[in-house]
C-alpha cells in the first residue's frame, strides 16, 4: 500500500517537474525503465510469496538498471546497440510476463 503511494508520488513528481534528460542519457532511459519494471514486478512477486527483502529489492533494482544501460552503451559503442537492446528487451519481457503470471496466481488464488 505504501509502495503504491510511493509510485504515485514518483509519477506526480515527474509530471510536475518534467525534468530534461541530458542528451547522453536519453538512449539508455527507456531500457533502464524496462529493467526497473522487471525489478519492481520481481519485488511484488517476492512480496506475495512472502519472501520480500528490501535490501535485495534495492540491489536488484539498481543492478538491473545499471546493467541494462551498460549493455546498451556497450552495444552502441560496438555498433550493435539495436540488436543488444532487442535482446535485453526480450529477456526482460519474458521475465516480466512470467513474474506477472505468478502474481496473478497469487491474486486470484488460481
Amino acid at each position: 500500500m505504501i509502495a503504491a503511494l510511493g509510485l504515485l508520488a514518483g509519477i506526480v513528481l515527474g509530471l510536475v517537474l518534467q525534468p530534461d534528460v541530458p542528451l547522453w542519457l536519453e538512449p539508455y532511459l527507456p531500457i533502464a525503465v524496462v529493467a526497473a519494471l522487471d525489478a519492481v514486478f520481481g519485488g511484488l512477486r517476492a512480496f506475495l510469496d512472502g519472501i520480500f527483502d528490501d535490501k535485495v529489492f534495492v540491489v536488484s533494482f539498481t543492478s538491473n538498471v545499471v546493467i541494462a544501460a551498460a549493455i546498451v552503451f556497450l552495444g552502441d559503442k560496438l555498433g550493435v546497440g539495436g540488436q543488444l537492446t532487442t535482446a535485453v528487451i526480450v529477456v526482460l519481457g519474458i521475465r516480466i510476463f512470467s513474474n506477472v503470471a505468478a502474481i496473478r496466481r497469487h491474486v486470484f488464488h488460481a
Partner: protein, 272 residues
Amino acid sequence: MMPLLSRITSASLDEDYEHVAARRALDGRPASDGSKAWTAVVIVAVFGLMAVIAVVQTSRDAAATEEGRQGLIRQIGIARDSLAAKQSTLADLREEQTELTERLADVTDAERREARETLDLSVVSGYAAVKGEGVRVRLDDSPDGSGEGVVRDEDLATLVAGLWEAGAEAVAVNGQRLTSVTGIRTVNAAIHVKTYPLRPPYVVEAIGDTATMQADFAESSSGSTFLGLRNAFGFEFDIRNDDDMTLPGRSMPSLRAASVRVPAPENRGTTQ
C-alpha cells in the same frame, strides 16, 4: 542444460530473495519483514519518476519528429509541384521540338526542290555545264576571201536562232556558252560573244535531239534564212551529229539593278 526460454522463465524471480529467505529461516527470523521498509518505497518512487520522465521525453521527441516529418512532407509537396511544372514544360518543349522537326523536314524538302529547280533552270539558262548528244556546226568565211564572204555577227546570230528553233537545249559558240544575256555582235572586225572575241572558224555546238535537229534546222525560218545567206555569200558550212558533247556553264552573273519579283504566295498547305 535447460532450454534458454525455460531457463529465463524459471529464474524470473531473483534467486537472492530465496537465498535471503532461507538464511532468515535459519536464523529463526520471519521470512519477510513486510513492506514497511522505506527504501522500497523510495525505490518504487524513483521507478515512477523514471517511467514518467521516459514517457514525457518520448512524447516530446515524437512531437519534434512529427514536426520534422510534416516539414519534409511539405518539401516533398513543393518539389512534386515543381517537378510537375517542369514535366509539363518538358512535354511542351518536346511537342514544339516535334513540330519544329516536321517544319525542318518540310523546309529541307522545299530547299531540295528549289535546288533541283535551280539546277534545271541553270541547265536551260546556260549557267550549268551540260552534256549530251547534239549537232556540231562549223562555219567559216568564204574561201574566196571576198569582203562579202566574211561571216558577220548577224549571220552567226541567225544560225544560232535557227538552232534554238530546231529544238536546241544548250548552245555554245567556240566554247562560249550562250545564255539569256549573251549577245552576239561585231566589234571592229571580230565577232564577240558577250565580251569574248571569236576568231573563225566558228564552231557552234548545240545539244538536242540528233534524229530531228538537222532537218528541223533546215525547216525553221531562221535556219532557212541562214542557209539562204550561206548560199548567197559562200560561207564554209558543215553540220554533223555528235553523240557525246560537253558544253561548259557560265558563272552566274550577280544582279545589281534587277531584283526578284516575288509572286503572291499560294496557299499550298505548308506550315507558316
